[in-house]
Amino acid sequence: MSDTPQPGYDSRLFRRTLLSVMAIQVATLLLLWLLQIRYTR
């Protein structure tokens, strides 16, 4: 079995990683923001 990536594998990998980055960033920042406004007076 060859370990050479299929054509288009690299660009799919990059797109998928980029989307995950954005989703995790937004979720984390939102959580931090909610913690701040909920508990900091």
């Binding site: 995950s20 980055v21 959580l31 931090l32 923001w33 508990y39």
Partner: protein
């Protein structure tokens, strides 16, 4: 620490040594030694990038910062995802496609040899010094807590790291990093769970107490150039710092040019970016929970045992009085904290608000006494009395269960070793490729360069250990490390930005680089109140502006 903890630490040290050294198999040329023949998978590279950036300072200093200062340090990383996306479409294809060993090699192709040599020299100075502080951070804490000599603490981390990096090269660095990253995350989660179990109040009440004490303030939107951690300094200054660090610092560049392709290199950077903010938030939140834990479990007046001993010996009466007032203030704070929990359980909004206000006042009393004690320690010891780096070790050694102490200490060692290994590997690469092969011996068999590279790794290891013994008294080490870099990072980034502008010329790049460093120096000494995060912006913008002025358009 019990026997089980020592066994865990010994097993960890033995395992990384064996795992690192066995990676040397098949490495007979410098392409394999420094770049793993550009064959590593993106996820391993991504984890290695993260492990390199996450040092012992992060585990010890950042958790301490969370306990004493709260979440606001997380803003420092807000520019990271943006920087990674920019690098993914700009520098990464350039550097990966250029098939270079070092980022600075590319500068000679684009400009000239003097620009390459100056930037690589600046890298060697900045990284050589910062590698020393990275060894020093845990070494200082270990020697203060366990009573070991500083030399022994430095050797415990330095010797195994130098051995596996020297023998195994970048393959050893990367694959050991992957395992070290796993150990670090496991230790952090285990500590977080233990804290939640040991707290006498529910997590919601704990967060309310942390919030009342200002520890959950993660966003500060004020535009204050003198404040180190604001949303804007993190987003703008942080983006420039991260662009410089990940785009032009060989210790990072060397990680992703080992990837199989440009897309895999980009993905590895993005992966490290998307875990960075959650991971830093987890580290800081662990520190915040340690703060809440110490609301109910009386902490010492001074966390640094060496400073406490010195003050007790020198000023016994004054310290005794201060300690007694501190104990009383702690009791009042704990009582106020319990009242908050009771009011919240009852669901009485008015009583809850009043009890939070009372808790805030008692917390201010405790804080004032701590400031007084730190001032006394500074006067007695004559050195910075900041004890932020001792808060977490105190908690770990006194309150974690047997076994978990060993795991946490092993994780601190792992964090230190992963950063040191990557830096030694990159320092050796730049020394051999940008200086030895470029200026001393341009033509030699690969076996010769391989031998010189291993020797260079060993020499840099010794240098870092020597610097570590001097950096020991530099105060909050986390800021010190970044401060070292900030003097050069922005200017080096400026040169790489110039390289992407077609009209830029070699003379402009060289003198722009000098002007950039002069500008940062002038701001640092002329306006010391300007936060160091802005130095990167100033350096980069000056280099690009001066570089373009000195690169006249051809007629």
């Amino acid at each position: 620490m019990r026997a089980l903890d020592w066994v865990i630490i010994a097993v960890y040290l033995g395992y990384v040594l064996v795992d690192g050294v066995r990676r040397a198999k098949g490495t007979r040329e410098i392409e394999g030694y420094f770049l793993a023949n550009r064959s590593l998978p993106w996820w391993a590279v991504g984890l290695s990038v993260m492990a390199t950036q996450l040092s012992a300072i992060t585990l010890i200093g950042t958790t301490g910062q969370g306990a004493t200062d709260g979440m606001r340090f997380v803003q420092f990383y807000f520019g990271l995802p943006l920087a990674m996306v920019i690098l993914g479409v700009t520098l990464v294809p350039f550097l990966h496609g250029a098939r270079v060993f070092t980022a600075y090699e590319y500068l000679e192709r684009r400009f000239d040899a003097r620009t390459r040599s100056l930037t690589s020299f600046l890298f060697l100075v900045a990284r050589g010094m910062s590698c020393g502080t990275i060894v020093a951070a845990p070494a200082v804490v270990f020697s203060a807590i366990f009573g070991w000599s500083l030399l022994w603490s430095v050797a415990l981390m330095g010797v195994p790291t130098v051995i596996y990096t020297m023998i195994g090269g970048v393959q050893a660095v990367t694959w050991v990093d992957v395992k070290q990253m796993g150990l670090i995350v496991f230790a952090l989660i285990a500590v977080m769970v233990t804290l939640l179990v040991q707290l006498p109040v529910a997590p919601g009440h704990a967060l309310a107490l942390a919030g009342a004490a200002g520890r959950l303030r993660a966003f500060d939107f004020s535009f204050d150039l003198t404040n180190d951690f604001t949303f804007w300094s993190g987003l703008i200054g942080g983006t420039f710092l991260m662009l410089s660090y990940f785009g032009t610092d060989q210790s990072q560049v060397q990680r992703y040019i080992t990837a199989k392709s440009v897309a895999q290199a980009r993905s590895s950077l993005l992966m490290s970016a998307y875990w960075k903010i959650p991971l830093q938030a987890l580290v800081l939140l662990t520190g915040v929970l340690v703060f809440v834990f110490f609301v109910f479990q009386a902490p010492p007046l001074l966390f640094n045992p060496a400073a406490e001993q010195a003050v007790r010996a020198e000023e016994p009466a004054m310290y005794g009085v201060l300690d007694e007032r501190y104990r009383t203030a702690l009791q009042a704070r704990a009582t106020a904290a319990r009242a908050v929990a009771v009011a919240r359980v009852r669901g009485d909004g008015e009583a809850s608000a009043a009890s939070l206000e009372a808790f805030r006042a008692r917390e201010a009393d405790v804080g004032a006494l701590r400031t007084e004690a730190l001032g006394l320690a500074r006067r007695v010891t004559g050195t910075s009395a900041q004890d932020v780096n001792y808060v977490m070790p105190y908690f770990v050694l006194h309150f974690l269960p047997v076994g978990l102490i060993g795991i946490f200490v092993a994780a601190v060692l792992a964090a230190a070793m992963s950063s040191i290994a990557a830096e030694l590997n990159s320092l050796a690469t730049v020394s051999v490729i940008d200086f030895y092969r470029r200026w001393v011996r341009p033509e030699a068999p690969d076996a010769h360069y391989l031998l010189v590279s291993k020797a260079a790794t060993g020499v840099w290891g010794l240098f870092a250990c020597a610097v570590a013994t001097f950096a020991a008294t530099l105060g909050s080490l986390i800021v010190v490390v970044n401060r070292f870099g900030s003097f050069f990072y922005g200017s080096i980034l400026g040169v790489f930005l110039l390289a992407m502008i077609p009209r830029a010329r070699a003379t402009g790049a060289f003198f722009g680089l000098i002007a950039g460093m002069a500008a940062v120096g002038a701001v640092n000494f002329g306006a010391p109140s300007v936060s160091w995060l802005w130095h990167n912006v100033i350096g980069a913008v000056t280099v690009v502006a001066v570089g373009l002025v000195l690169s006249p358009r051809r007629a």
